[in-house]
Protein backbone atom coordinates (compact mmCIF):
# COMPACT_ATOMS: atom_id res chain seq x y z
CA UNK A 1 0.00 0.00 0.00
CA UNK A 2 1.38 3.39 -0.94
CA UNK A 3 1.63 6.02 1.74
CA UNK A 4 -1.45 8.18 1.80
CA UNK A 5 -0.93 11.89 1.41
CA UNK A 6 -0.50 13.61 4.73
CA UNK A 7 -3.94 14.80 5.64
CA UNK A 8 -4.76 17.50 8.09
CA UNK A 9 -7.28 16.51 10.70
CA UNK A 10 -10.58 18.28 11.00
CA UNK A 11 -9.44 20.32 14.00
CA UNK A 12 -5.71 20.40 13.44
CA UNK A 13 -5.70 24.18 13.86
CA UNK A 14 -7.16 23.87 17.33
CA UNK A 15 -4.58 21.25 18.29
CA UNK A 16 -1.82 23.53 16.99
CA UNK A 17 -3.15 26.36 19.12
CA UNK A 18 -3.12 24.09 22.15
CA UNK A 19 0.54 23.35 21.57
CA UNK A 20 1.41 26.98 21.02
CA UNK A 21 -0.33 27.90 24.25
CA UNK A 22 1.62 25.22 26.07
CA UNK A 23 4.87 26.50 24.60
CA UNK A 24 4.12 30.03 25.64
CA UNK A 25 3.40 28.89 29.19
CA UNK A 26 6.55 26.82 29.24
CA UNK A 27 8.75 29.59 27.89
CA UNK A 28 7.44 31.92 30.56
CA UNK A 29 7.93 29.37 33.33
CA UNK A 30 11.52 28.76 32.27
CA UNK A 31 12.16 32.50 32.27
CA UNK A 32 10.58 32.79 35.71
CA UNK A 33 12.95 30.24 37.19
CA UNK A 34 15.85 32.10 35.59
CA UNK A 35 14.67 35.42 37.05
CA UNK A 36 14.19 33.91 40.48
CA UNK A 37 17.68 32.43 40.48
CA UNK A 38 19.15 35.74 39.31
CA UNK A 39 17.31 37.56 42.08
CA UNK A 40 18.65 35.07 44.59
CA UNK A 41 22.25 35.50 43.46
CA UNK A 42 22.02 39.31 43.28
CA UNK A 43 20.04 39.67 46.55
CA UNK A 44 17.62 41.74 44.52
CA UNK A 45 14.52 42.65 46.57
CA UNK A 46 12.69 44.01 43.53
CA UNK A 47 12.80 40.70 41.71
CA UNK A 48 10.00 39.24 43.83
CA UNK A 49 7.50 41.69 42.44
CA UNK A 50 8.52 41.04 38.84
CA UNK A 51 8.42 37.26 39.31
CA UNK A 52 4.96 37.45 40.84
CA UNK A 53 3.65 39.59 38.04
CA UNK A 54 5.03 37.24 35.42
CA UNK A 55 3.50 34.29 37.28
CA UNK A 56 0.06 35.90 37.09
CA UNK A 57 0.28 35.66 33.33
CA UNK A 58 1.07 31.93 33.51
CA UNK A 59 -1.95 31.44 35.73
CA UNK A 60 -4.13 33.18 33.16
CA UNK A 61 -2.75 30.97 30.42
CA UNK A 62 -3.49 27.88 32.50
CA UNK A 63 -7.11 28.94 32.83
CA UNK A 64 -7.24 29.47 29.08
CA UNK A 65 -5.78 26.00 28.55
CA UNK A 66 -8.42 24.43 30.80
CA UNK A 67 -11.17 26.15 28.85
CA UNK A 68 -9.77 25.12 25.48
CA UNK A 69 -9.26 21.52 26.51
CA UNK A 70 -12.78 21.27 27.91
CA UNK A 71 -14.15 22.75 24.71
CA UNK A 72 -12.15 20.37 22.51
CA UNK A 73 -13.29 17.36 24.52
CA UNK A 74 -16.90 18.48 24.47
CA UNK A 75 -17.12 19.46 20.82
CA UNK A 76 -14.49 17.45 18.99
CA UNK A 77 -14.20 14.15 20.84
CA UNK A 78 -10.56 13.68 19.87
CA UNK A 79 -9.35 10.11 19.50
CA UNK A 80 -6.10 8.16 19.39
CA UNK A 81 -3.05 10.45 19.01
CA UNK A 82 -5.21 13.57 19.14
CA UNK A 83 -6.73 12.41 22.40
CA UNK A 84 -3.28 11.80 23.88
CA UNK A 85 -2.16 15.27 22.81
CA UNK A 86 -5.13 16.92 24.52
CA UNK A 87 -4.59 14.82 27.64
CA UNK A 88 -0.90 15.71 27.59
CA UNK A 89 -1.59 19.43 27.17
CA UNK A 90 -3.88 19.46 30.18
CA UNK A 91 -1.42 17.65 32.41
CA UNK A 92 1.63 19.54 31.24
CA UNK A 93 -0.04 22.92 31.64
CA UNK A 94 -0.84 22.02 35.21
CA UNK A 95 2.79 21.06 35.83
CA UNK A 96 4.05 24.23 34.17
CA UNK A 97 1.74 26.37 36.25
CA UNK A 98 3.23 24.81 39.36
CA UNK A 99 6.75 25.50 38.11
CA UNK A 100 5.69 29.15 38.13
CA UNK A 101 4.50 28.82 41.73
CA UNK A 102 7.83 27.35 42.79
CA UNK A 103 9.66 30.21 41.09
CA UNK A 104 7.53 32.63 43.10
CA UNK A 105 8.39 30.73 46.30
CA UNK A 106 12.08 31.03 45.46
CA UNK A 107 11.68 34.76 44.84
CA UNK A 108 9.92 35.18 48.19
CA UNK A 109 12.67 33.27 49.95
CA UNK A 110 15.36 35.36 48.32
CA UNK A 111 13.57 38.53 49.43
CA UNK A 112 13.53 37.27 53.02
CA UNK A 113 17.18 36.23 52.66
CA UNK A 114 18.17 39.85 52.11
CA UNK A 115 17.25 40.51 55.76
CA UNK A 116 19.94 38.08 56.93
CA UNK A 117 23.68 37.92 56.58
CA UNK A 118 24.54 36.21 53.30
CA UNK A 119 25.51 32.59 53.50
CA UNK A 120 28.88 31.69 52.01
CA UNK A 121 28.51 30.68 48.35
CA UNK A 122 27.08 27.21 47.86
CA UNK A 123 27.98 26.20 44.32
CA UNK A 124 25.54 23.30 44.36
CA UNK A 125 22.55 25.64 44.49
CA UNK A 126 23.50 27.44 41.30
CA UNK A 127 24.13 24.10 39.72
CA UNK A 128 20.73 22.73 40.73
CA UNK A 129 19.17 25.86 39.26
CA UNK A 130 21.01 25.34 35.98
CA UNK A 131 20.12 21.66 35.90
CA UNK A 132 16.39 22.07 36.47
CA UNK A 133 16.16 24.85 33.92
CA UNK A 134 17.88 22.62 31.40
CA UNK A 135 15.53 19.75 32.29
CA UNK A 136 12.54 21.99 31.80
CA UNK A 137 13.83 23.27 28.46
CA UNK A 138 14.69 19.78 27.25
CA UNK A 139 11.31 18.37 28.31
CA UNK A 140 9.62 21.05 26.21
CA UNK A 141 11.94 20.54 23.24
CA UNK A 142 11.14 16.84 23.47
CA UNK A 143 7.46 17.70 23.36
CA UNK A 144 7.80 19.87 20.26
CA UNK A 145 9.99 17.41 18.36
CA UNK A 146 8.29 14.31 19.83
CA UNK A 147 11.79 13.20 20.81
CA UNK A 148 11.45 10.27 23.19
CA UNK A 149 15.22 9.92 23.67
CA UNK A 150 15.49 13.48 24.84
CA UNK A 151 12.54 12.99 27.18
CA UNK A 152 14.26 9.96 28.67
CA UNK A 153 17.48 11.94 29.20
CA UNK A 154 15.48 14.46 31.25
CA UNK A 155 14.18 11.66 33.43
CA UNK A 156 17.73 10.36 33.92
CA UNK A 157 18.86 13.84 35.02
CA UNK A 158 16.49 13.85 37.95
CA UNK A 159 18.85 11.57 39.89
CA UNK A 160 21.66 14.13 39.48
CA UNK A 161 19.39 16.84 40.93
CA UNK A 162 18.57 14.63 43.91
CA UNK A 163 22.27 14.08 44.55
CA UNK A 164 22.99 17.81 44.34
CA UNK A 165 20.14 18.55 46.73
CA UNK A 166 21.55 16.15 49.30
CA UNK A 167 25.01 17.76 49.09
CA UNK A 168 23.51 21.24 49.31
CA UNK A 169 21.53 20.27 52.41
CA UNK A 170 24.64 18.87 54.07
CA UNK A 171 26.58 22.06 53.38
CA UNK A 172 23.76 24.32 54.57
CA UNK A 173 23.34 22.32 57.77
CA UNK A 174 27.07 22.43 58.46
CA UNK A 175 26.98 26.27 58.20
CA UNK A 176 23.98 26.36 60.53
CA UNK A 177 25.79 24.20 63.06
CA UNK A 178 28.92 26.35 62.91
CA UNK A 179 27.25 29.73 63.22
CA UNK A 180 23.86 30.45 64.85
CA UNK A 181 23.48 33.58 62.68
CA UNK A 182 23.31 31.25 59.68
CA UNK A 183 20.31 29.36 61.08
CA UNK A 184 17.60 31.63 59.66
CA UNK A 185 19.16 32.12 56.21
CA UNK A 186 20.07 28.42 56.21
CA UNK A 187 16.44 27.41 56.72
CA UNK A 188 15.39 29.80 53.98
CA UNK A 189 18.00 28.37 51.63
CA UNK A 190 16.74 24.85 52.32
CA UNK A 191 13.34 26.03 51.11
CA UNK A 192 14.94 27.41 47.95
CA UNK A 193 16.65 24.09 47.25
CA UNK A 194 13.45 22.20 47.89
CA UNK A 195 11.53 24.40 45.48
CA UNK A 196 14.20 23.91 42.82
CA UNK A 197 14.07 20.19 43.28
CA UNK A 198 10.30 20.26 42.79
CA UNK A 199 10.83 22.10 39.49
CA UNK A 200 13.07 19.20 38.47
CA UNK A 201 10.35 16.73 39.48
CA UNK A 202 7.79 18.61 37.41
CA UNK A 203 10.13 18.65 34.40
CA UNK A 204 10.45 14.88 34.88
CA UNK A 205 6.66 14.54 34.93
CA UNK A 206 6.42 16.46 31.68
CA UNK A 207 9.12 14.29 30.12
CA UNK A 208 7.29 11.12 31.19
CA UNK A 209 4.13 12.49 29.67
CA UNK A 210 6.01 13.18 26.42
CA UNK A 211 6.85 9.47 26.26
CA UNK A 212 3.18 8.69 26.81
CA UNK A 213 2.21 11.22 24.15
CA UNK A 214 4.49 9.60 21.60
CA UNK A 215 4.38 5.92 22.53
CA UNK A 216 0.99 5.68 24.16
CA UNK A 217 2.27 3.92 27.25
CA UNK A 218 2.96 5.25 30.69
CA UNK A 219 6.49 4.94 32.05
CA UNK A 220 5.69 6.50 35.39
CA UNK A 221 6.76 4.72 38.53
CA UNK A 222 8.86 2.29 36.54
CA UNK A 223 12.29 3.50 37.63
CA UNK A 224 15.26 2.36 35.56
CA UNK A 225 13.28 -0.26 33.64
CA UNK A 226 11.58 2.51 31.64
Amino acid sequence: MTDPLPVRGPFEGELDRLQRLLLEMAGRAEELVRMAMEGLAARDREMTRRVRKADDRIDELEVEMDERVLELLALRHPMAGDLRLVFFALKASNDIERVGDHAVNIAKSSRRLTRHPPLPDILEIGEIGGQVRKMLGDALDAMVTRDVEKARSVIAHDQRVDDLRRSAFRIIVSYMLEQPRYISPGLEMILVVQNLERVGDLATNIAEDVVFLVEGRSIKHMGASA
Binding site: H77, M79, A80
Partner: protein, 258 residues
Protein backbone atom coordinates in the same frame (compact mmCIF):
# COMPACT_ATOMS: atom_id res chain seq x y z
CA UNK B 1 -15.06 -33.56 24.31
CA UNK B 2 -16.24 -32.35 27.72
CA UNK B 3 -18.85 -29.65 27.79
CA UNK B 4 -17.71 -27.88 30.94
CA UNK B 5 -18.62 -24.23 30.99
CA UNK B 6 -15.04 -23.04 31.39
CA UNK B 7 -14.00 -24.86 28.23
CA UNK B 8 -17.03 -23.47 26.48
CA UNK B 9 -16.10 -19.97 27.58
CA UNK B 10 -12.62 -20.40 26.16
CA UNK B 11 -13.89 -21.20 22.65
CA UNK B 12 -14.76 -18.04 20.73
CA UNK B 13 -18.42 -17.93 19.78
CA UNK B 14 -17.48 -16.90 16.28
CA UNK B 15 -14.12 -17.26 14.64
CA UNK B 16 -13.24 -16.45 11.07
CA UNK B 17 -10.00 -17.67 9.56
CA UNK B 18 -8.56 -16.60 6.24
CA UNK B 19 -12.04 -15.48 5.27
CA UNK B 20 -12.32 -14.07 1.77
CA UNK B 21 -15.61 -13.04 0.20
CA UNK B 22 -15.92 -11.97 -3.42
CA UNK B 23 -18.94 -10.66 -5.24
CA UNK B 24 -18.15 -11.27 -8.88
CA UNK B 25 -14.76 -9.63 -9.39
CA UNK B 26 -15.03 -7.38 -6.36
CA UNK B 27 -13.30 -8.58 -3.19
CA UNK B 28 -15.40 -7.52 -0.20
CA UNK B 29 -13.33 -9.28 2.45
CA UNK B 30 -9.73 -10.41 2.09
CA UNK B 31 -8.13 -13.02 4.38
CA UNK B 32 -9.88 -11.84 7.49
CA UNK B 33 -9.09 -13.57 10.79
CA UNK B 34 -11.13 -12.56 13.80
CA UNK B 35 -12.39 -14.26 16.96
CA UNK B 36 -15.44 -13.01 18.84
CA UNK B 37 -15.38 -13.85 22.56
CA UNK B 38 -18.53 -15.08 24.28
CA UNK B 39 -20.79 -12.58 25.98
CA UNK B 40 -18.89 -9.55 24.73
CA UNK B 41 -19.71 -6.68 22.44
CA UNK B 42 -17.47 -6.42 19.40
CA UNK B 43 -17.74 -3.34 17.20
CA UNK B 44 -16.77 -3.33 13.57
CA UNK B 45 -15.90 0.13 12.34
CA UNK B 46 -14.55 1.48 9.09
CA UNK B 47 -15.45 3.47 6.01
CA UNK B 48 -18.45 2.61 3.83
CA UNK B 49 -17.71 -0.28 1.50
CA UNK B 50 -14.96 -1.46 3.82
CA UNK B 51 -16.55 -4.84 4.45
CA UNK B 52 -18.45 -4.35 7.72
CA UNK B 53 -21.78 -5.65 6.46
CA UNK B 54 -20.18 -8.46 4.50
CA UNK B 55 -18.40 -9.65 7.65
CA UNK B 56 -21.64 -9.63 9.63
CA UNK B 57 -23.44 -11.48 6.86
CA UNK B 58 -20.63 -14.02 6.70
CA UNK B 59 -21.25 -14.76 10.38
CA UNK B 60 -24.76 -16.09 9.69
CA UNK B 61 -24.42 -17.23 6.09
CA UNK B 62 -26.49 -14.46 4.62
CA UNK B 63 -23.94 -13.68 1.91
CA UNK B 64 -24.73 -16.91 0.11
CA UNK B 65 -28.17 -15.54 -0.72
CA UNK B 66 -26.47 -12.98 -2.95
CA UNK B 67 -25.92 -14.25 -6.52
CA UNK B 68 -22.31 -14.45 -7.67
CA UNK B 69 -20.81 -14.65 -4.21
CA UNK B 70 -17.71 -16.76 -3.58
CA UNK B 71 -16.56 -17.45 -0.03
CA UNK B 72 -13.30 -19.12 0.96
CA UNK B 73 -11.76 -19.70 4.37
CA UNK B 74 -13.68 -20.80 7.43
CA UNK B 75 -16.14 -19.37 9.91
CA UNK B 76 -16.63 -21.37 13.08
CA UNK B 77 -19.56 -21.05 15.44
CA UNK B 78 -18.78 -22.56 18.86
CA UNK B 79 -15.93 -24.37 17.13
CA UNK B 80 -18.10 -25.88 14.40
CA UNK B 81 -17.56 -24.98 10.75
CA UNK B 82 -20.60 -22.98 9.66
CA UNK B 83 -20.31 -24.29 6.13
CA UNK B 84 -20.15 -27.96 7.18
CA UNK B 85 -22.44 -30.36 5.30
CA UNK B 86 -24.54 -31.14 8.37
CA UNK B 87 -25.14 -27.48 9.19
CA UNK B 88 -28.61 -26.10 8.47
CA UNK B 89 -28.40 -22.44 7.40
CA UNK B 90 -31.85 -21.70 8.79
CA UNK B 91 -30.78 -22.94 12.22
CA UNK B 92 -27.59 -20.84 11.86
CA UNK B 93 -29.68 -17.72 11.29
CA UNK B 94 -31.88 -18.52 14.26
CA UNK B 95 -28.94 -18.89 16.64
CA UNK B 96 -27.07 -15.97 15.12
CA UNK B 97 -29.75 -13.33 14.70
CA UNK B 98 -29.39 -10.18 12.68
CA UNK B 99 -30.90 -6.73 12.92
CA UNK B 100 -30.58 -4.33 10.01
CA UNK B 101 -30.19 -0.60 9.61
CA UNK B 102 -33.83 -0.15 8.59
CA UNK B 103 -36.44 -1.86 10.71
CA UNK B 104 -37.81 -4.73 8.64
CA UNK B 105 -41.25 -5.41 10.09
CA UNK B 106 -44.16 -7.34 8.69
CA UNK B 107 -47.30 -5.28 8.10
CA UNK B 108 -48.93 -7.04 11.02
CA UNK B 109 -49.50 -6.37 14.71
CA UNK B 110 -46.73 -5.81 17.23
CA UNK B 111 -47.58 -9.16 18.80
CA UNK B 112 -47.52 -11.04 15.51
CA UNK B 113 -44.18 -9.57 14.54
CA UNK B 114 -42.61 -11.07 17.65
CA UNK B 115 -44.63 -14.29 17.60
CA UNK B 116 -44.04 -15.06 13.93
CA UNK B 117 -40.63 -16.70 14.32
CA UNK B 118 -41.42 -18.83 17.38
CA UNK B 119 -44.73 -19.92 15.79
CA UNK B 120 -42.97 -20.94 12.59
CA UNK B 121 -40.43 -22.84 14.65
CA UNK B 122 -43.18 -24.71 16.49
CA UNK B 123 -42.64 -23.01 19.84
CA UNK B 124 -44.24 -25.15 22.54
CA UNK B 125 -44.38 -22.68 25.42
CA UNK B 126 -46.70 -19.83 26.27
CA UNK B 127 -46.42 -17.45 23.33
CA UNK B 128 -47.91 -14.51 25.18
CA UNK B 129 -45.40 -14.93 27.98
CA UNK B 130 -42.53 -15.09 25.50
CA UNK B 131 -43.69 -11.98 23.64
CA UNK B 132 -44.06 -10.04 26.88
CA UNK B 133 -40.64 -11.19 28.09
CA UNK B 134 -38.73 -10.12 24.98
CA UNK B 135 -40.67 -6.88 24.58
CA UNK B 136 -39.81 -6.15 28.19
CA UNK B 137 -36.16 -6.96 27.54
CA UNK B 138 -36.02 -4.24 24.89
CA UNK B 139 -37.95 -1.79 27.07
CA UNK B 140 -40.97 -1.86 24.78
CA UNK B 141 -43.53 -3.75 26.85
CA UNK B 142 -44.38 -0.78 29.07
CA UNK B 143 -44.93 1.28 25.92
CA UNK B 144 -47.16 -1.16 24.04
CA UNK B 145 -48.74 -3.31 26.79
CA UNK B 146 -52.10 -1.58 26.43
CA UNK B 147 -52.55 -2.67 22.87
CA UNK B 148 -49.96 -5.11 21.51
CA UNK B 149 -52.37 -5.95 18.70
CA UNK B 150 -52.08 -2.61 17.02
CA UNK B 151 -50.13 -2.43 13.75
CA UNK B 152 -46.37 -2.45 14.25
CA UNK B 153 -46.02 0.23 11.60
CA UNK B 154 -47.64 2.73 13.97
CA UNK B 155 -44.61 2.63 16.22
CA UNK B 156 -41.91 5.30 16.02
CA UNK B 157 -38.71 4.47 14.14
CA UNK B 158 -36.85 3.81 17.38
CA UNK B 159 -39.61 1.59 18.74
CA UNK B 160 -39.68 -0.31 15.45
CA UNK B 161 -35.98 -0.97 15.71
CA UNK B 162 -36.36 -2.22 19.28
CA UNK B 163 -39.21 -4.42 18.08
CA UNK B 164 -36.84 -5.91 15.50
CA UNK B 165 -34.38 -6.71 18.27
CA UNK B 166 -37.19 -8.24 20.37
CA UNK B 167 -38.25 -10.34 17.42
CA UNK B 168 -34.72 -11.66 17.10
CA UNK B 169 -34.50 -12.34 20.85
CA UNK B 170 -37.73 -14.36 20.66
CA UNK B 171 -35.80 -16.98 18.68
CA UNK B 172 -33.43 -17.47 21.63
CA UNK B 173 -30.25 -16.69 19.69
CA UNK B 174 -26.74 -16.79 21.13
CA UNK B 175 -25.39 -14.03 18.96
CA UNK B 176 -26.88 -10.75 17.81
CA UNK B 177 -25.48 -9.18 14.68
CA UNK B 178 -26.48 -5.53 14.59
CA UNK B 179 -25.81 -3.78 11.30
CA UNK B 180 -25.89 -0.01 11.82
CA UNK B 181 -28.91 -0.38 14.10
CA UNK B 182 -29.11 3.31 14.99
CA UNK B 183 -28.04 5.11 11.83
CA UNK B 184 -31.65 5.91 10.92
CA UNK B 185 -32.59 7.03 14.43
CA UNK B 186 -32.62 10.33 16.30
CA UNK B 187 -30.31 10.80 19.32
CA UNK B 188 -32.94 9.87 21.93
CA UNK B 189 -33.89 6.65 20.14
CA UNK B 190 -30.19 5.93 19.59
CA UNK B 191 -29.54 6.31 23.30
CA UNK B 192 -32.30 3.78 24.07
CA UNK B 193 -30.82 1.23 21.67
CA UNK B 194 -27.38 1.83 23.12
CA UNK B 195 -28.61 1.21 26.68
CA UNK B 196 -30.30 -1.91 25.38
CA UNK B 197 -27.06 -3.19 23.84
CA UNK B 198 -25.37 -2.46 27.13
CA UNK B 199 -28.03 -4.41 29.04
CA UNK B 200 -27.93 -7.40 26.67
CA UNK B 201 -24.17 -7.87 26.85
CA UNK B 202 -23.21 -10.90 28.87
CA UNK B 203 -26.42 -12.76 28.05
CA UNK B 204 -25.69 -12.46 24.36
CA UNK B 205 -22.65 -12.05 22.22
CA UNK B 206 -23.10 -8.93 20.13
CA UNK B 207 -21.35 -7.91 16.95
CA UNK B 208 -22.14 -4.33 16.05
CA UNK B 209 -21.26 -2.77 12.71
CA UNK B 210 -21.31 0.98 13.08
CA UNK B 211 -20.29 4.17 11.34
CA UNK B 212 -20.23 5.80 14.73
CA UNK B 213 -16.72 5.66 16.07
CA UNK B 214 -17.94 7.17 19.31
CA UNK B 215 -20.71 4.61 19.47
CA UNK B 216 -18.13 1.84 19.14
CA UNK B 217 -16.05 3.46 21.87
CA UNK B 218 -19.04 3.73 24.18
CA UNK B 219 -20.43 0.26 23.72
CA UNK B 220 -17.89 -2.34 22.83
CA UNK B 221 -15.30 -4.45 24.61
CA UNK B 222 -13.38 -5.07 21.40
CA UNK B 223 -13.19 -3.11 18.20
CA UNK B 224 -12.24 -4.21 14.71
CA UNK B 225 -11.22 -1.71 12.06
CA UNK B 226 -12.06 -2.90 8.55
CA UNK B 227 -11.09 -0.97 5.44
CA UNK B 228 -10.92 -2.07 1.84
CA UNK B 229 -12.00 -5.55 2.90
CA UNK B 230 -8.93 -5.89 5.10
CA UNK B 231 -9.00 -6.26 8.87
CA UNK B 232 -6.50 -3.56 9.69
CA UNK B 233 -6.60 -3.82 13.45
CA UNK B 234 -8.55 -5.69 16.11
CA UNK B 235 -8.14 -5.34 19.84
CA UNK B 236 -9.55 -4.12 23.14
CA UNK B 237 -11.58 -0.98 22.50
CA UNK B 238 -9.70 1.13 25.04
CA UNK B 239 -6.36 0.31 23.39
CA UNK B 240 -7.62 0.94 19.88
CA UNK B 241 -9.09 4.32 20.75
CA UNK B 242 -6.21 5.63 22.82
CA UNK B 243 -3.21 4.06 21.15
CA UNK B 244 -3.89 2.26 17.88
CA UNK B 245 -1.00 0.14 16.63
CA UNK B 246 -1.61 0.74 12.96
CA UNK B 247 -1.10 4.10 11.34
CA UNK B 248 -4.17 3.56 9.17
CA UNK B 249 -6.36 3.08 12.24
CA UNK B 250 -4.90 6.27 13.69
CA UNK B 251 -5.75 8.15 10.51
CA UNK B 252 -9.30 6.87 10.48
CA UNK B 253 -9.96 7.58 14.14
CA UNK B 254 -8.55 11.08 13.99
CA UNK B 255 -10.37 11.92 10.79
CA UNK B 256 -7.21 12.12 8.69
CA UNK B 257 -8.48 9.90 5.92
CA UNK B 258 -7.31 10.98 2.47
Amino acid sequence: MSDSSSERAAVPVLAAEDLTVRFGRRTALANVAIAVPRGRVVSVIGPSGGGKTTLLRAFNRLNELTPGVATTGTVRFNGVDLHGDEVDPVEVRRRIGMVFQQATLFPRSIFDNVAFGPRAGGYGGDLLELVEEVLDAVGLWSEVAEDPDRPAMQLSAGQQQRLCIARTLALRPEVLLLDEPTSALDPAATARIESLIHALRGDYTIVLATHGRRQAARLSDFTAYLAGGELIEYGPTEALFTNPRDRRTESYLTGRIA
